[in-house]
Subunit: 437 residues, 2 copies
C-alpha cells in the first residue's frame, strides 16, 4: 500500500477529475494558521521533515487503485490517477522558527492534481508538530533553565503523536524523553526512574530503593510518594547513606503540594549533607504550573511533563488551512465569510525580531534589514539537500526565543504580534477580490 490513501477521499476525487480533464497547470497552495489560539503568543514551525519524507514517497500504486475500485471510482478516474507521483516544488519555513497567524509555513507548487493530493497529510503533519512544538516551547520559557523531560507517551493520541512530542520537545530544548523508541529514532537522551508499582512490589520503600540502586548504579532517582512523601525522603536518605551512593542521585515528587514538599525535601537532604541529590517533580504538571513553581522559588531541578504537554491540553489544535493562492499563473483567493485568503505565492520578511514581519509576495525584494523566512526545500519532487539534524532546528528555535518580544512570550494572556502586509500583496488582494465580484 502506497501513501496515496493517507488522505481524504475528496483529494483523490478532485485529483482524478483534474487529470481526466487534462487540467495539468501548476497550482500553488499555501499552508498557514488563520488565528492563534488565545493562549498562544507565537508558534514554533515543525513537521516539515515528515512532510518532505511523505512527498518523496507519494505515488499512486496498483493496490491503491484496487481499493479505489471498491470505493466506486470508475475506469476513467482510475486511469487518470495511475502513475501519479509528486513532481512539484516546496518552499517552507525551516523547523524551529517562530511563526505567527497568516504566515505560510509551507507552499506547494505542482500540477494541480498532485498539489491537491498532498493537502490532508501536509496539514496533518504540520498541525500536530507545530501544535506540540509550540506547547513545548512554552514549557521551556516556564522552566527558565531548569531541566525538562518528556513523560507524555502514555497519554498522547497514539504512538505517532508520542514520537512527535519527543521530537518537538527536544527541538525546543527538553533534555530527555522517557520514550525509548523516540530516543532511538531521533537520537535523544532517554531518561526514567521507577513507578509506584516497583515500590509496592517490594512492600517496603527502603528495600525497593536499595534494589534499584544496586541494579542501576548511576541512575538512582527514587520515587518518594508511594505512601507518604516525607517518609519516602527519609528512606531515600537512609539508602543513599547506607550504600554510600554517589551522584547522579535524585528524588522524584509525583503528588501532593509539590512546592511545599520540594522545600521540605531540599531542607532534609541539605541537613544530611546531600546537597547534590537533585529534586524532580512530575504528576500532571504543565507550563503554567512550572512557571508558578519556578517563580515561587521551589527548589526543583527538573520537571517531568506528561499529559498536558503531550496533548497540548490548552490548545490541542490550530486553525491551519491549505489554500490555493495561484493557478495557471493567475493569483486566486477565496472569500467565504470569516475565511478570506490572500492571493499569490508568499514570502515572509522578518526584521530584527520574530513578529517584526512583513507578509509579501514571493517575488518582492526583501526590505533592508530583513531576511526571508521561506526557503526552497523541494524542487521537481526531490528534496533539496539531506534531512537536517534536529540540532539545526533547535538552534533556530533558541535564536528566535532570545529575541521574542515579551508580550508574545507571556504564558498567560499573551499578545501575538500582528504582522504587516506588503503594499504589493494588499494591492493584489484588492484586484483579485474586485475581479471576483
Amino acid at each position: 500500500m502506497g501513501r496515496a490513501l493517507l488522505t481524504d477521499l475528496y483529494e483523490l476525487t478532485m485529483a482524478a477529475s483534474y487529470r481526466r480533464r487534462g487540467m495539468d497547470a501548476s497550482a500553488t497552495f499555501s499552508l498557514f494558521v488563520r488565528d492563534l489560539p488565545p493562549r498562544r503568543g507565537f508558534l514554533v514551525a515543525a513537521g516539515l521533515d515528515g512532510c518532505l519524507e511523505f512527498l518523496d514517497g507519494l505515488r499512486v500504486e496498483d493496490d491503491d487503485l484496487a481499493y479505489l475500485t471498491l470505493a466506486g471510482f470508475d475506469r476513467a478516474s482510475l486511469e487518470a490517477l495511475e502513475g501519479l507521483r509528486f513532481t512539484g516544488d516546496v518552499w517552507a519555513v525551516p523547523e524551529g522558527r517562530m511563526v505567527f497567524a497568516g504566515e505560510p509555513l509551507l507552499e506547494v507548487s505542482a500540477p494541480i492534481a498532485e498539489a491537491q493530493l498532498t493537502e490532508t497529510f501536509l496539514l496533518n503533519r504540520i498541525t500536530v508538530e507545530t501544535t506540540l512544538a509550540s506547547k513545548a516551547a512554552r514549557s521551556v520559557i516556564a522552566a527558565d533553565g531548569r531541566d525538562l523531560l518528556d513523560f507524555s507517551f502514555r497519554r498522547t493520541h497514539g504512538v505517532d503523536a508520542a514520537m512527535a512530542v519527543a521530537r518537538t520537545s527536544a527541538m525546543c530544548g527538553f533534555v530527555a524523553t522517557s520514550n525509548v523508541e523516540a530516543a532511538r529514532r531521533y537520537g535523544l537522551h532517554v531518561a526514567g526512574t521507577m513507578a509506584h508499582s516497583y515500590v509496592q512490589s517490594f512492600g517496603d520503600e527502603r528495600a525497593a530503593f536499595r534494589a534499584f540502586a544496586e541494579d542501576f548504579p548511576g541512575r538512582a532517582t527514587f520515587l518518594v510518594d508511594t505512601y507518604d512523601t516525607a517518609s519516602g525522603v527519609e528512606a531515600a536518605i537512609d539508602v543513599i547513606r547506607e550504600l554510600g551512593l554517589e551522584p547522579p542521585l535524585g528524588v522524584r515528587l509525583d503528588s501532593g503540594d509539590i512546592d511545599a514538599l520540594a522545600r521540605t525535601a531540599r531542607r532534609r537532604l541539605d541537613e544530611e549533607g546531600l546537597g547534590e541529590v537533585r529534586i524532580f517533580a512530575s504528576g500532571g504538571l504543565d507550563d503554567v504550573d512550572v512557571a508558578r513553581l519556578v517563580a515561587g522559588g521551589a527548589p526543583i531541578d527538573g520537571f517531568g511533563l506528561g499529559t498536558r504537554l503531550g496533548v497540548s491540553a490548552d490548545a490541542p489544535s490550530l486553525e491551519t488551512v491549505f489554500k490555493m493562492v495561484e493557478f495557471d499563473g493567475r493569483p486566486s483567493a477565496k472569500f467565504s465569510p470569516g475565511k478570506v485568503s490572500l492571493p499569490g505565492r508568499k514570502q515572509v520578511f522578518r526584521g530584527e525580531r520574530p513578529g517584526d514581519d512583513v507578509l509579501a509576495l514571493r517575488g518582492e525584494v526583501a526590505p533592508p534589514g530583513t531576511e526571508p523566512l521561506l526557503v526552497p526545500v523541494m524542487a521537481r519532487g526531490t528534496r533539496i539537500g539531506p534531512a537536517e539534524p534536529l540540532q539545526a532546528a533547535r538552534e533556530r528555535f533558541e535564536e528566535d526565543l532570545e529575541r521574542l518580544p515579551e508580550p508574545a512570550r507571556r504564558l498567560v494572556d499573551p499578545d501575538a504580534p500582528r504582522i504587516r502586509i506588503s503594499d504589493e500583496l494588499a494591492s493584489l488582494a484588492g484586484r483579485v477580490q474586485d475581479g471576483a465580484r
Copy 2:
C-alpha cells in the same frame, strides 16, 4: 525492531530489575480512569483490539537489546530482558460499552516484569481510543438520527490518531469517514465532496459543479460557499436542472450562519422541486453546535465533523492510570494524596442501566439482575477467539446508549453516575490501608 521499545524507559528498567532478582511472581495491574472530565457524563470503552494485537506481538528482540546497550543497560540487565514476551492473562470491558470513573477497562495479570512492560502502550491505546470514542458518542447523541461523517484527518494528532477517530466514530454510529486508508483498513464507508480550490480552479461555480457531476455521477454534492452561499446554491440548482442530475445529490455549507443558510438553501431547493437534494454542514462544528442546530430545527441532513471531534477538543485526554492491585497473591494499593487506588482484581457488575454499577472483586458472585462487564480476552499470552468485527462494538454501544440515564447523557453539565463499591472490596481496601500504616 520489536515493540519492546514502544514504552517508557522506566518500564524496561523495572522489568530488568525484577528479572535480575528472580521476582517472577504474578502481578495484576488495573487500568481505569480516576475522574471523568467535567464535560463527560460517560465514557465509551475503546482501544482493546489494538492492545491485544500489541500484546500478541510483544517480545524483546536482539536489536532492542542492542539499543538498550547504547542507552546504558549493563550486561546483567540485558540478559535479564532477553527473550521476554507476554505470557499473561487479560480481562477487559469489551469495546463499545459505556464505563465510568473507577471502573477497570482492562486488567493484566502476568509475571511482574511482563505486566509492568505493557503499561505505557496499553495506557496510550486505551486512552486515545476511549477519549475519541467518547467524543464521537456525544456527537451521535447531538445529531439525533441525522447522518454524521468523520472529516477530521487533516488535524488529528498524526496518522495513527486519524485512524483511531475513523474507527471509534464508526463504532458509535457515524455513517462514513473521509479518511480513505481508515475506510480500507476497517471496512468503513468513505465519503467526500470537493474543496474550495476545485471551484477556484474553474474560476466559475457552474463550470466546477458541471465538471464534478460529469466525472462523478451519483456522488454530486456541491460545495456552495466559495464566494457567496446564496449564489452557490443557485449555481447548484442550475447545474442539477441543466444536466438533469438524479439523487443522491447534495449541497455542502462550510461557513457563515449555518442555521440561516440551511433554511434559505432548503427553501430555494424546495421551491425548485428539488426536495431530494440533501443539505450537509461542516466547518469547525462540534457536538454542541450540532445539538443546537438540530434542536433549532435547521434543515440539515448530515454533519461533517472535523477538528474538534478529531482532537476531542473539550477533553483531549483522560485521567487513565495503570495501577498494581495484586502481587504474588497479595492485594496491593497506593496511598499517595489524591491518588489512592483500590486493591485486588476487580469486576464490575452492571444492573439495569449503564452506571447502575457495583465495583467489586473479581471472585465475587454477581448480584441478582446484574451482568459482569469484564470478560477474559487473553489467556497465557494468547487471544481468546479472533478479533471481532467493529459491528459488535457498535451494537454494544447502541444498547448502552439506549439505556443511558438522562443526566449522564446531557452534553452540557452532565452528571456522571457514581458507581457503588461492594462491601467485600471496601473491607479489603480498609484492611490493606491499615496494613500499610
